[in-house]
């Protein structure tokens, strides 16, 4: 088990290395002189030269990369071009709202997704199954920003039950954004749970349980449930990365003070140090979550670790 974990941990190192190089090169991929781009269209020659030295753009690329990574390990992500504050500080400020949003969405999408999937599996081929799956495929096809706008229109503007936008730390404010963000994930989990249950139902031990006259309820929850959930765990983990990405859209709809909206703002004002840092953060997060999911999977399913 330990060997598997170490091997799996080592395997992400090259990916992280390449991702960091790509993100580092990001500023260099921009058309034109990066110093000029960073300085903005109205900057004079002196400012551009100052920025060039400041960013170390006058050194060779490998040298620049090493400096960049050295700073990164010390937690220095550079300074935001628009606010002039350290990027790390700006990110620290916006990380909690994004995390709350992702975790709340994940929590309810797991509950609803698994219940829907299991319910459809129990009523295989009947109207309940079809209804549950129609709802699920609709959830996947629903544009998040549209669902967000509709929920906002109904529950916040017309009924006035919930706040329209923003986040000041109250649970009430989390409800609409997390429902919006979680809808497609709930749908994906539901579909996956259904197919996982159907696979498990083919197993001999389920036939045995049914043959010895156990009620369907017991077969379902005691025999099938746990085994059916093993693949669902992986799925759920992978969806967490999706939630982080999806938060870009949902945060913009609900004016959420998190990283996703920050990213869009940075794109429109061309704040490259911030974009670089966010891309790095998101992709590292994503890779590490996938790693943790794989490890969790190995803990649950012994077959994997002995391969």
């Amino acid at each position: 088990m330990l060997k598997y974990f170490i091997r799996r941990c080592l395997s992400i190192l090259p990916v992280l290395l390449v991702v960091s190089i790509l993100v580092f090169l990001f500023v260099h991929l921009l058309p034109g002189d990066p110093a000029r781009v960073v300085a903005g269209p109205d900057a004079d020659e002196a400012t551009i030269n100052r920025i060039r030295t400041e960013l170390g753009l006058d050194k060779s690329l490998p040298e620049q990369y090493l400096t960049y990574m050295g700073r990164l390990f010390r937690g220095d992500l550079g300074k935001s071009l628009s606010s002039k504050l350290p990027v790390a500080q700006e990110i620290a400020l916006r990380f909690p709202p994004t995390l709350y949003l992702a975790l709340t969405s994940l929590a309810w999408s797991i509950i609803i997704g698994i219940l829907f999937g299991a319910y459809a599996a129990m009523h295989r081929g009947k109207w309940q199954d079809y209804t549950a799956m129609i709802v699920a495929v609709s959830g996947i096809s629903m544009p998040q920003f549209w669902l967000g706008l509709l929920l906002m229109q109904l529950f916040a503007v017309h009924l006035g039950w919930l706040p329209v936008t923003g986040f000041t730390g109250k649970f009430k404010e989390l409800i609409l954004p997390s429902l919006t963000l979680g809808a497609s994930v709930a749908a994906i989990i539901a579909r996956f749970t259904l197919s996982s249950f159907l696979d498990v139902f083919q197993e001999e031990y389920i036939n045995t349980a049914r043959a010895k006259g156990l009620p369907e309820r017991v077969v379902m929850w005691k025999h099938a449930f746990r085994n059916a959930l093993i693949p669902v765990v992986t799925m759920v983990g992978l969806q967490f990365g999706f939630l982080l990405g999806g938060s870009v859209v949902v945060e913009t709809v609900f004016a959420w003070p998190g990283l996703g909206r920050y990213m869009i703002e940075s794109v429109s004002v061309r704040d490259y140090p911030v974009l670089q840092a966010l891309l790095l953060l998101y992709s590292f997060q994503f890779v590490i979550i996938n790693l943790l999911v794989d490890m969790l999977y190995a803990v649950i399913n012994p077959e994997i670790r002995y391969k």
């Binding site: 991929l29 609709s138 629903m142 544009p143 920003f145 906002m152 870009v248 913009t252 890779v287």
Partner: protein, 283 residues
Amino acid sequence: MAEKTITPSMIFWQKFKKQKSAVVAGIFILLLVFVAIFAPFIAPYDPYATDYSQAMMPPSPQHWAGTDIYGRDILTRIIYGTRISLSVGISSVTIGAIVGVTLGLISGFFGGFLDEIIMRSADVLFAFPGILLAIAVVAILGPGLVNVVAAVAIFSIPTFARIVRSNTLSIKESLYVRAARSMGASNNRIMFVHIMPGTLSSSIVYFTMRIGTSILTASSLSFLGLGAQPPSPEWGAMLAESRDYIGVADHLTVFPGIAIFLTVLAFNIFGDGLRAAFDPKLQ
């Protein structure tokens, strides 16, 4: 009596026809294509013509879906928007598929060093959540629809490559490929004439599903202000314009969203149907 031959395509049709919802979705997609092609003949108004005396009118017999803040007919704009969404969805996935399928074939067929390089690059692309990768590409290239197509195409590549690679690995060892090789067929001929057709069914399923996802991503980017720019009648851009009038004019939000939703839904259901029809396990 002559025996009736059953071809694989007949089996496919038999299985596909049984899935009523997929057939309906397929018809709906054909309808969308028709609307996109003949938009100028179907649409009742000019999509860009403003008429401030008619601004923000709710649905009426003259304007079935109402008018927007500039008095433009929303139904007309949605009809023209079909052109944008379908062409963005189909072109981006086609580019992604061509590159991805080729890379997957090369990766699976030659193996070794090339395989390592291609698959590790795919891993790197997978390290970015799709929409963030698209945002990064747009941040580099600048906002606009063409750049959105590029962005969406890039993040379709790795999955096509993976699907085709795994199919190639198994087909490569089959008897008919070995026979072709023994007859002196070139690598290119074996790859594209003998192996590629065998990988098509899973690629087609993914292709269809991917169009739905791409339309969704492209409209999200337009909604965020990174894709189609006003006054383009792109569905996501229309929804972005509606955002400031929530509670004042609800029809602005409702109709473009329905258009995106039904289109994406149709591609997803159609893709599901294809998958089931191609699946040899389901009879």
